[in-house]
């Protein structure tokens, strides 16, 4: 966190000054570790074992917050007889189909019965206990290389700092998700936090440290292929009607208002053209026919299925896994538009990519027409950032963008205008979508910049009379309201740009509700109903946050209550109730079908209802917990060098594991930092971090060069020998050496270096299609890498030694 979010880390430092215990779990000793109370080094990819052992520690030691667990989680749900846990089938849940590598989750659905004594062997609580029983401190030591003493210290601190009087927060940077089991890492933390009563309470929660450039905003109003704004799902091919589409969302809880959200969205987009009679134009939207994630798209590009590509502030030639495939894909396009602050590698791949140097690509044979369009920086445009705590903060334009640089808003808007003009008189039904778009933001200035506040007002939503809505509760399912994103509704309440508020901390309450605006409803802690007991009283004075005021018959407190304001704690829903009314007054998790925190997830996850440890796609060891070695449902692309199954356990050819990460001094793929002298000089060269023991083993010298080789690529880096990277001893006494690689460098900018992400395979989590970029296997040798075609030869020689007989380019036939 100190590495990648130094500004946010000031609050961790502040907490430490006030007595908080800070524990840092990370393969490396980082700037965060330096300030932590203690650091726990761990093998990358062992997270579920560590977290699972903490769950086991809580359950077996009866440290759970019993009242909280019983009332607020689905611990009491009874599971059907045909549900089989991984305990029963050696690492697989019931419903697995090995051919399609998918689960059918019908056997995971609770029966509807509940056992509030939590003693029924088929209740979630008991299943959970059995599931995690094998996750012991010994297993942690064997799998993660964490000593039992270190584990004990971690577990004791966690338990000591949780309960009525204290809370524990889990904070992660997104590297935690970049695994084939990434979603389940967060799931395990969620189980832990629910058991300890750390959700919905001040000082609790699981805090994702998302990217700086409004990455939270880019999922709220998504750039993701499978989502519409406000986490409404993208329609699928089989959704032939509005009802079929809506059936995929719950009827109870706040998703019960799904039609209000969707209809308002469609009205915002299509205005009068969207009517109840035409399903609000839903049928005219593109629909998903399968995996259209970024890695699938790259492979489709290589296969010639994708003709054009827009890159907005993204640099896949450096920043995405498997850089070679990324660049080969770009070289197969007809056209490519790159919008960025500076010429990045994804715009210059045709002349300076490693594949040109090796001869795999020839500049004069690349047909891609590349359009580089300079982008305005954030100080050159107005708009909002949504930060990692869901808070929208408005920023104003400080100066005009230089030269041809334009804001993203300008580009999208004017591109839309031109396209709409081009199809204005088209009789094609497919063009109706474009013709019907509401595309009328006011423009100003010499550059005809669209008004960003007008966009925010549209996002906020308007009522039938055109007045701005005050929140999503006002949305209607009948098409009388329009709202660009239901969760953002209220950000322009009262005609005031709420996101622009900057009232100082000293002039308002400690929750600071008048700084910016947090979705939903300016609520600062989600599910804060859980900060009070089922009767509506704070669990403790120290942790009082919101509570039920019986006299006034309403919820009150420091934050906006996350429950209907006048819903009494003793409210019991009548049979057949739908929407929010279907949840009881003691149900805090209002976006869930049953209002309960999900210790067990019956639906929504593709890799199982409970977290289970599987080894990474490439690993040095076999799964110590189950016979099932790897995630049975991870997304692999067999043709895309997906050779990790064969590589796993090859401790001779690729005897080390490596992990990638960022440094404070640079920003992601480097397009915004390698080009700036002030930042570039602070970390001028790519380096690898190795322990003194590994340096001795391989003859690496501090400040010298090393070549790192995987089955995908070979790169060179300077060597930094540091005791901050420690060898870890695993189960059989084997020592695992981890190589650390920051990934900021490429061929452009003031400081250049090889592309670390070239080393990585395509191996994805099945739920969110995130790549496993935090762990793979490699070799490391002293000295610089070969130049030209010899580089391909080096990788090929490793592949041959590893027994990979495949179509690696530059293979024997090519020479």
């Amino acid at each position: 966190m100190a590495e990648c979010h130094p500004v946010a880390f000031q609050w961790v430092v502040e907490a430490k000054k006030r007595g908080a215990t800070i524990i840092h779990v990370d393969p490396r000793f980082t700037r965060t570790s330096a300030l932590a109370t203690f650091h726990v080094p761990s093998r990358v990819g062992g997270d579920i074992v560590l977290l699972g052992a903490l769950v086991n520690h809580v359950l077996s030691g009866r440290h759970e917050f019993t009242e909280y667990v019983r009332a607020y989680t689905n611990a009491a749900d009874i599971l059907p007889l045909d549900f089989h846990d991984t305990e029963d089938s050696d690492g697989l849940f019931s419903g697995y189909d090995p051919v399609s590598r998918t689960y059918d989750n019908s056997s995971w659905q609770p029966t509807g019965e509940r056992d509030l004594t939590l003693t029924d062997p088929r209740c979630v609580f008991q299943v959970l206990k059995r599931h995690f029983a094998r996750y012991t401190p010994e297993l942690v030591e064997r799998v993660c290389g964490i000593s039992q003493a270190d584990f004990g210290r971690l577990a004791d601190t966690l338990v000591r700092c949780s309960g009525r009087e204290q809370t524990t927060a889990w904070v992660y940077a997104v590297g935690w998700t970049q695994h084939t089991t990434g979603v389940q890492h967060i799931r395990t933390a969620a189980i832990l936090q629910l058991l300890l009563g750390n959700m919905g309470r001040p000082g609790g929660g699981i805090l994702a440290l998302r990217g700086h450039a409004s990455i939270q905003g880019s999922t709220d109003i998504p750039t993701l292929f499978d989502l519409l704004p406000g986490y409404l799902p993208m329609p699928r091919r089989e959704d032939q009607s509005l009802d079929a589409y809506l059936a995929r969302l719950p009827n109870t809880g706040f998703w019960g208002n799904k039609l209000s959200y969707l209809a308002s969205l469609m009205k915002a987009w299509f205005g009068d053209a969207a009517t109840a009679a035409n399903d609000f134009c839903l049928s005219s939207l593109p629909r998903l026919s399968g995996d259209h994630g970024t890695y699938r798209t790259v492979l489709d590009m290589i296969e010639g299925k994708v003709k054009g590509y827009f890159l907005w502030g993204q640099n896949p030639a450096v920043g995405s896994a498997g850089g070679r495939l990324q660049r080969l894909a770009l070289a197969k396009l007809d056209w490519l538009v790159v919008r960025d602050l500076a010429l990045i590698e994804s715009a210059t791949f045709w002349q300076d990519s490693p594949e040109v140097a090796t001869g795999e690509l020839a500049t004069d044979q690349i047909g891609t027409e590349v359009f580089f369009l300079p982008a305005a920086a954030h100080v050159e445009k107005a708009g909002s950032f949504t930060n990692t705590q869901r808070m929208l903060q408005w920023h104003y334009k400080a100066l005009e963008p230089p030269g041809d640089a334009r804001s993203d808003l300008w580009f999208a808007y004017h591109l839309g205008k031109r396209i709409r003009a081009a199809v204005a008189s088209s009789p094609e039904p497919r063009d109706a979508l474009l013709q019907n778009l509401t595309w009328d933001y006011n423009e100003s200035g010499e550059l005809a910049e669209p008004d960003a506040e007008a966009v925010l007002r549209e996002v906020n939503g308007r009522g039938p009379d055109g007045s701005l809505l005050s929140g999503f509760a006002q949305l209607k399912p009948d098409g009388s309201t329009a709202c660009g994103n239901w969760i953002y509704s209220g950000c322009f309440a009262g005609g005031v740009n709420q996101t622009a508020r900057r009232k100082p901390q000293s002039e308002q309450s400690w929750v600071a509700p008048e700084w910016g605006w947090a979705w939903p409803a300016n609520r600062r802690i989600l599910y804060n109903r859980a900060s009070a007991d089922p009767e509506g009283r704070p669990w403790s004075e120290a942790k009082a946050y919101i509570w039920w005021n019986e006299a006034k018959g309403e919820w009150t407190g420091h934050d906006v209550p996350d429950i209907e304001k006048n819903k009494s704690p003793d409210y019991i829903p009548p049979d057949g109730a739908v929407g929010p009314a279907a949840l009881a007054g003691s149900d805090p998790f209002i976006m869930q079908r049953d209002g309960k925190g999900a210790l067990f997830v019956p639906s929504g996850l593709k890799d199982g209802p409970l977290p289970t440890h599987y080894e990474p796609a490439e690993s040095l060891v076999r799964n110590d917990a189950y016979k099932q070695d790897k995630s049975p449902v991870s997304i692999l692309y067999p043709k895309a060098e997906a050779t990790f199954e064969q590589l796993s356990g090859d401790t001779i050819t690729f005897p080390y594991i490596f992990t990638t990460y960022r440094l404070t001094e640079h920003h992601t793929a480097g397009g915004m930092s390698r080009t700036l002298s002030r930042l570039a000089e602070l970390q001028p060269e790519l380096f690898c971090e190795v322990s003194p023991a590994l340096a001795a083993e391989r003859g690496l010298e501090n400040g010298g060069w090393a070549t790192i080789v995987t089955a995908r690529a070979a790169i060179e880096a300077r060597v930094l020998v540091t005791r901050r990277v420690r060898p870890l001893r695993l189960a059989d006494g084997a020592v695992v050496h981890q190589v650390g690689l920051p990934y900021h460098w490429g061929s452009q900018g003031l400081v250049t270096g090889d592309v670390v992400n070239d080393l990585l395979p395509f191996a994805l989590d099945p739920n969110v299609f995130i790549q496993e970029s935090k762990v793979a296997t490699c070799d490391i040798q002293p000295g610089r890498r070969p130049r030209g075609p010899a580089l391909t030869g080096l990788v090929r020689s490793y592949r041959e030694r590893a027994g990979l007989d495949d179509e690696w380019p530059g293979g024997r036939d090519d020479e």
Binding site: P6, V13, R31, P684, E685, S691, A695, G733
Partner: protein
């Protein structure tokens, strides 16, 4: 000239330098390295605000000194974050044995990891942002022959670039190795404590940018109290190695305007343990120079007397 013009405590440095009563109170930096996260925002903010020159392309190389690629304070780097990696006794139970394999795959003990014999050791990573100390008795200012270096009304020490002729005397006089002459420019440069910002009522850029308040700016007297309180807090929290550096008006430079809370010996951070302003000994130096001049004259006299009468003798 009173003796403490050259040495010893001095309550009012600006007044001593000739500013009339009513001048601003002395300001300074308290850099609490115990909360420094090594983000280098201070370095960047400083260079950006002060418009310091970009590095030459051939200077863009990894130093191999942990995460420090700035290496030192100088004419073009007025803040410098030091990174020190240390082995310290493990606070918890024995850490993992450090083993590695030899060529035959046998497990061998690698002493270089340092985790084996001593029952385990933990890692400590010290980070500290260094800066010009703005000494009470500033050698650079004392020795400057042109008057380019001056004491400001805020009690800080700055170089006037329009006066400096690049004699580089200050470079050799600074006991902290801070000030340096800029290549190609020929003049001496160092931290001004953002004199322009101070004049405008703003805090220096580095302190403004520091996310964890490791760099604190304010009236020196208040900072010294803050620092004492923080020191007591750390000592109470079981950090006995915490110490203040530069806060003592009785030290060899009369106390510094930029002082530090350190977690190890100053030399570990590249700081002199007990610096003394060189001009403390200036009166004695002149005395010896006087003696030498006398000896010189006497020597000549001796050479020409006694036998002078014989000079004309063949």
């Amino acid at each position: 000239m009173t003796s403490n013009r050259l040495y010893g405590p001095l309550d009012d440095v600006s007044g001593d330098a000739g500013y009339v009563a009513g001048h601003p109170q002395r300001v300074g930096f308290f850099t609490d390295t115990s909360v420094c996260i090594g983000c280098k925002a201070c370095e960047v903010a400083c260079k950006e605000w002060n418009g310091l020159p970009d590095p030459e392309a051939d200077a863009l190389v990894l130093t191999g000194m942990s995460y420090d690629n700035t290496a030192e304070l100088g004419a073009n780097s007025w803040r410098h974050v030091a990174f020190i990696e240390q082995a310290v006794p493990a606070a918890s139970a024995p850490a993992l044995s450090a083993l590695s394999r030899d060529a035959e795959g046998e497990l061998i003990i690698s002493a270089s990891v340092g985790d084996t014999d001593d029952g385990g050791s933990a890692t400590r990573w010290l980070m500290a942002s260094d800066v010009c100390k703005h000494c009470t008795h500033a050698a650079c200012l004392d020795v400057c022959p042109t008057g380019a270096l001056v004491r400001t009304e805020f009690g800080t020490v700055i170089v006037q670039p329009d006066v400096c002729n690049g004699c580089a005397y200050c470079v050799s006089a600074c006991p902290f190795g801070v000030i340096d002459r800029r290549e190609g420019d020929g003049r001496a440069w160092k931290c001004t404590m953002c004199y322009d910002r101070l004049r405008g009522g703003l805090e220096p850029a580095c302190a403004k940018a520091c996310p964890t308040d490791s760099i604190q700016f304010g009236p020196l007297s208040e900072l010294r109290e803050t620092a004492q309180a923080r020191l007591a807090e750390l000592h109470a929290a079981g950090v006995p190695e915490a110490r203040l550096y530069g806060d003592d008006p009785d030290d060899g430079v009369g106390g510094t305007g930029a002082f530090f809370l350190l977690l190890d010996e100053p030399a570990v951070y590249g700081l002199p343990p007990d610096p003394v302003v060189t001009t403390r000994d200036l009166p004695a130096m002149w005395r010896w120079a006087g003696i030498a001049a006398g000896v010189l004259a006497a020597g000549v006299a001796v050479a020409f007397t006694g036998r002078a009468g014989r000079a004309g003798r063949p």
